[in-house]
Amino acid sequence: MAEARRRTWLPATLGGRTAFWLVVALMAVQAAGLTIHALDRVDLQRWIHAREIAGRAFSAWRAAVLSPPDRREQMLADLDLPDAIQAEISRTPLVRQGGPPPPPEMIRLFRLDALSSGPPRLRPREVRLGPNRPGGGFQASLRLPDGEWLNLRVQMPPPRPWHSATFLAAFLVMTGAAILLILWAVRRLMRPVRLLAAAADRLGRDVNAPPLDEAGPSEVATAARAFNQMAERIRRFVADRTQMLAAIGHDLRTPITRLRLRAEFMDDDEQRRKMLADLDEMEQMISATMAFARDDAAAEPASPIDIAALCRTVVDEAADARPELAEKITYEGPERLTARARPVALKRALANLVSNALTYGGAARLRLSTGEGGMVRLEIEDDGPGIAEAEIERVFQPFQRLEESRNRETGGTGLGLTIARNILRAHGGDVVLRNRPGGGLTAVASLPG
């Protein structure tokens, strides 16, 4: 439910959201700018129209004044006045005496007050002005010297703020360019965030991952520095813990040695055998813990080794250690296969995988082959019950043991698979577990060839 409520129509990424809001803001600014521009344009249009109309109206008046009375109609028609002006000669005025004046805006726009000035020859004997309803504009009745009237009906054409061929194209190009610029800038701006996320991810996998570059804008540099300091503190913390673990393992060697020697003086053979077995187990647990803590794999130099011989050694040693299972411990693969690896670490990884297969699966069939891209592929099959898919990654966590294994007294430290995976990953490979369709578990390890 919470998930559903939190779903939003906003883009998922920070960059997307920033870009989104920037584009919205840009649109608003564009819209405001355009409106201002349009209003301005409308004003200008009106002014130009008014000038033109005023001029034409004056032409009409001149024609009426200067032509003989019988030719006035003809002259007016010859003027070819625009639609906005209707002119007629009449015995009666269109505007009656004492009516309301036209709106003051019209007087200003058309400079109507200038009608009664001008040279006396052309000056109207009487001017009557009134509003033009409906449609805006004005009406004027101008008395000619012979007593006839020139009646004018002037209309303002409606404003056409968007009337321009290039306007739409210009608008689209401008907006498009701005959006592209925003996307580019946001991507650049978000780069440090992506780098930080990548660095955090790397740190999660490897505490000793290289530090972040502390260059760039000050906020970015501060964040990078803080991140690096955090990484350093984590590294120190891990190192302290590791050292503690190693110190404990180190200190336990003396008491174990003493106990082994004491056991040699025990008279009860059975008890002595059991005690020595317990001590062996303790030693194995300590050495596994120390191998995990000190990450021996990283310290050992890599050299060319014969992987096939290594597999045989691991298989043979496992068979020697568990003669009762010897027949189920097999190797299948080439006689020889050379690859660069850290021999002691890799042997430990394979021994752990084989030992795991034997302990939980009662068999260990090791198969060696070369896969695609020259990768060395190692499969270790067992005949056990497998692992529930949900748990299959969890077993690689340190000190994680499945409930069944705890109850079954199978022993072990819960570090075997962790160490194996650490070692293989340090080699640039990996190990995963797979349930086989027919039953049984297969550990698939890969190693660069």
Binding site: L261, F265, S287, R294, P304, A309, R312, R336
Partner: protein, 238 residues
Amino acid sequence: MEPAPHILVVDDDREIRDLLSRFLEKQGMRVTAARDAREARKLWPLGRYHLVVLDLMMPGEPGLDFARWLRSQSEVPIVILTAMGEETDRIVGLELGADDYVAKPFNPRELLARIRAVLRRANGEGPSKEPPAKVIRFAGWTLEPARRRLLNPDGAEVSLTGGEYELLQVLVERPNRVLTRDMLMDILRGRQAGPFDRAIDVAVSRLRRKLEDDGRNPTLIKTVRGGGYVLAATVERG
């Protein structure tokens, strides 16, 4: 019957010193124990020791320095006790001329077996009178005793089990000499505590496979009629 071998044990832990002394005495040896390198230097001229068991991890003078000093004084065999996982100490120790090593926490029986094996070699059975070899070459293969590793003709490391390594070492130390199964068992017994109880033949066949020696027609480790093996190769030590 030879006189009981006299062992000098140098270890800083009193309990271990005492217990180890008692344990070795129970096995028929004479033991003198020293707390550290200083005491061991004092004790050295006072007795004739057949072997020194030396803990490398001691307070005061480092065990490796004492081992170096000891080598300058005598050819006495040295078995070093190293810390688990301290590879470099072990390698340096063996390169200094220690005869064998046991990792702590050690198994007393394994230590006893190593001591016996080293004593047997020192008694003229092996070529250990010669300075220890850093590398041993045979038929293109290279054995590095200090690192306990075998390199194939291409220079790649070929992993060996403990038993295989011990067997190979015995064979290369006695090239072109027929070693009967009984002799091999006798030399190897106990050198590797547990697993080597398995038949010699199994170990030989495994070793042949690792050395790419055809088991049906071996040329390197030949089977001798009547039950024995011989390493048919020229061995170069260096």
